[in-house]
Symmetry: C2
Subunit: 434 residues, 2 copies
Amino acid sequence: MKKEKISVGIIGFGIVGTGTARILLENKNVIRKRTGFDVVLKRVADLDIKRDRGIKVPNGILTTDARAVINDPEIDIVVELMGGIHPAKDFIIQAIQNKKHAVTANKALLATEGNDIFAEAHKNGVEIGFEASVAGGIPIIKVIREGLVANNILAIYGIINGTSNYILTKMTNEKVEFSDALKEAQRLGYAEADPTFDIEGIDTAHKLTILSSLAYGIPLSYGEVYKEGITKLTAQDIEFASELGYKMKLLAIAKSENGEIEMRVHPTMVPNEYLISKVDGVFNAIYVEGDAVGSTLYYGRGAGDMPTGSAVVADIVDIGRKIITGCVTSEFRIQDAGGYRIKKMEDIESMYYFRFSALDKPGVLSKISGILGNYNISIASVIQKGRRIGGSVPLVVLSHMARERDVLKAVKEIDDLPVVSDKTIFVRVEGKGE
Amino acid sequence: MKKEKISVGIIGFGIVGTGTARILLENKNVIRKRTGFDVVLKRVADLDIKRDRGIKVPNGILTTDARAVINDPEIDIVVELMGGIHPAKDFIIQAIQNKKHAVTANKALLATEGNDIFAEAHKNGVEIGFEASVAGGIPIIKVIREGLVANNILAIYGIINGTSNYILTKMTNEKVEFSDALKEAQRLGYAEADPTFDIEGIDTAHKLTILSSLAYGIPLSYGEVYKEGITKLTAQDIEFASELGYKMKLLAIAKSENGEIEMRVHPTMVPNEYLISKVDGVFNAIYVEGDAVGSTLYYGRGAGDMPTGSAVVADIVDIGRKIITGCVTSEFRIQDAGGYRIKKMEDIESMYYFRFSALDKPGVLSKISGILGNYNISIASVIQKGRRIGGSVPLVVLSHMARERDVLKAVKEIDDLPVVSDKTIFVRVEGKGE
C-alpha cells in the first residue's frame, strides 16, 4: 500500500524547534497542497516541556526522553535541533542505526563530526538533510548541490553570520566601536551572552566547511579553514574603508583554481558597487560564481525560528518525497573525490588595507613604503591625514595584489621600526584594483 | 543492471543549445564527479548544421531531422531549445508520447500551451524540466518548488527581462530617452530587431505565469496576467523617480492574500533602499516572500548561452538522478489546487506616481488635487518646478495607497480638464509610504 504520510519527531524544542513545529502545524495544508502528502509531527522531545512556547502542540506528543523519538517505530525522520556536539551526535547516530532519516540544523556538529555521520548514514542507506545548517531560510545547500550542479564552482563569498553582520552594520552606520555594537546586539538578542562563536568567525567557519565540502566534493575539513574574527576592527578602520569606497564585512571565502582550494574567514573590504556590500543587519547572502552560470547571489534571513524552520521543513519534504516514491538513496552524499589540495593561508593572494601607527616624523612614509616594496607589495593608494605634534597618526595604505606570506613579514618588520608606535592593522580587500 | 549513464538529445542548436552542448561536453567530468553518473550528448538537431558555433561536437551527432532525436530509442531526455510555439510543442508532445522526459527553456510555449504539455507528461509518466524558462541560470524554479515548499508564498517581485532592465538602467544612469537606450541594446545584441516581446512586458508575463503557477498551485494562466511595457517611460519620469528616492524597474509581481491572486507586469518605482533596486543592466533578480522564511532574493544572469545552459543541465541531472535511482514520478506537477480567485487589475491597490501636464495657470493644483480627493486618492508628496509662461509644466504627485479603478477614473477626469494639456503618465509605486 502506498505510503501517504510522513511522521516526524523533533529533538530540541528551542527557537528552531518551535519554529519547525509551528510550520508543520500551521502550514499543514499548504504543505499537503504543495506535495500531495501529509507531514505529521508525532513527537517533540526536550528536557523542558513545561515552558510556554506560544504554540499549541497536539496532546501527548511532548516528551522529556529523546529515545522516545529515536526508537519510535512509526517515526520516519528524526529532526535534531538541540545543538551542541554531545549528545546530539549520539542521538543522530542512533536514529540512523534505527534506519531513520535525519534532518539537522547543527553546523558545529556537521563541520566537526559530519564525516562520521555521513559515513554512518551511507552504511544504513538513509538520508541526512542539513539545509538549515547554513544561512537559515536561504536554500543555499540545494542551490549549490542541485541548482548549480552543471558548474565548476569557482568562488563562494558569504555573509553567513547575522550577529557579526549586525555589529559591522551598526559600526558602519552609527560610527560606534565594536564593544558598543556588541552590547546592543546582545540587548536585542542577536548575540549570545558568550558571543565567541559569532564574533571570532567560528560559526562562519563551520558553515564554510559545509559549503566547501558540497561545492568541491571534499570531506568536511573544519581544521583547514583559516579563521579571523571582527573583534580587532575599529570604527576608524571602517571609516577609512568607507572613504576608499568599501564596506567592511565578515566574509566566508572559498575558491578553487587548478585543484587548489582556499577556505578562509576574515573581515574583508568589499567594493560599494558589489551587491553583497549592501547586505546589512542580520541578513545573510551568499555570492556563488560558477564557470557556466557566472555570478549569482542568494539573500535572506540567516537565523530565527521561522526562516530556519522553513529550511528544516524543506528537508523533511525532500526526504519525504523520496520515501513516498520509494527511492531513498544515500548515494549523493558528501564524499572525497580526491585530486585536490588545500592552499595554505600564507600562500593566498589578495589586496590589503594597512593602517600603520606612524610617529609624525619626517621619512616615515618612505621607510614604510620601502619595506612594502622589498616584499613586492605595491601601493594603490595612501591616506595620511591630520598631524599630531609628537604623537602618532594613522597612515592608511591600500595595496595591489600581494602574497599573504610577504604581508606578514613586511608587517613584522614595519612594527619593529622605532617610528611605528603600535601594531599594524591589516584587512584583506576584494574586487576593484588590478 | 543498474543504469549508469543518461543519454540526451537536443533540438535547436542556437545560443542556448550551443551553451548546453558546451557544458555537457566541457564539464563532463565535473558532472560525473558531482552526480556519480555520466550524461552523454547523443544527438543535436537543427536545420542549420553547417554554421560554426565555436565548439567541437563528436562526429555524427548532428542531424537536420528533429525526429532523429525524438525517435531514438536510446535517448532518455529530449531537450527542446528551438523556441517558438510550433513545431516546438509538437516535438515535445511526440517525445513525451515516446516516453521520453523533456527539458525546455521555452517560456512562451509553457505559458501559453503548458497545461496541455504537463497533462500529456502526467499521462505518460514522464517529467518536464523547465528551470531554464525563467531567469536563466538562477535556480528560481527549484527554489520556489522545493526550497520554499514549507511556505505560503505571499509575494514575488521579479526583474526577469534583461533587455528591459538594460534599457531602464541606461535611461537612469545616462539620462537618455527610451528610443536611444533601445538602439544601444540592439547594437549590443541585448534586444532583438523586433523587441516587442521584451519591451512590452510579454516575455516577463510569460515567466510570471510560470512562477505564479508554481507558487500558488494554479494552472498556467497567461491570459490573466496584466501587462504594461516600458515604451512610454521618459527620461524625465525616471529623473523624478530618482528625486523621490526610487528606481524605475519593469517588475513582474505576484501576490496572494485570502485566496486572491494578483499577477501583473508593469513599470514600477522601487525604493532605493530595496536590494532589488540595485539590480542593474542585463541581470535578473527575484524577490520571494514566504510566510515562514520572510524576505529572500535570488540574483544572477537571466539569459545567455552558458547561464541558461547551466539551468538546462541542472534539469537534465535532476531527471537523470530519478532515472538512475528508478523513481521517476510526474506527480509533483503543476496542478489546479482550486480555491483561488484571480484579482482583476482594477481591484488592485498600490501607491501611484502621476505626472500631469498642467498649464501654468492659477488654480490648477487645486483642481487636480480636488479630483484626486474625490476618488479617495490622497497625496503623499508633490513636485512642481520651473514655470513656462503660457506653456505646460510637469506636476508630479506621489499618492498614498489607492485603488486602480479610482486612479483610472480620476486620470480620465483630469485629462479632460481644459488646464491639462497632455495625457497623464502614471506609474505604480512599491514600498515605503503607509
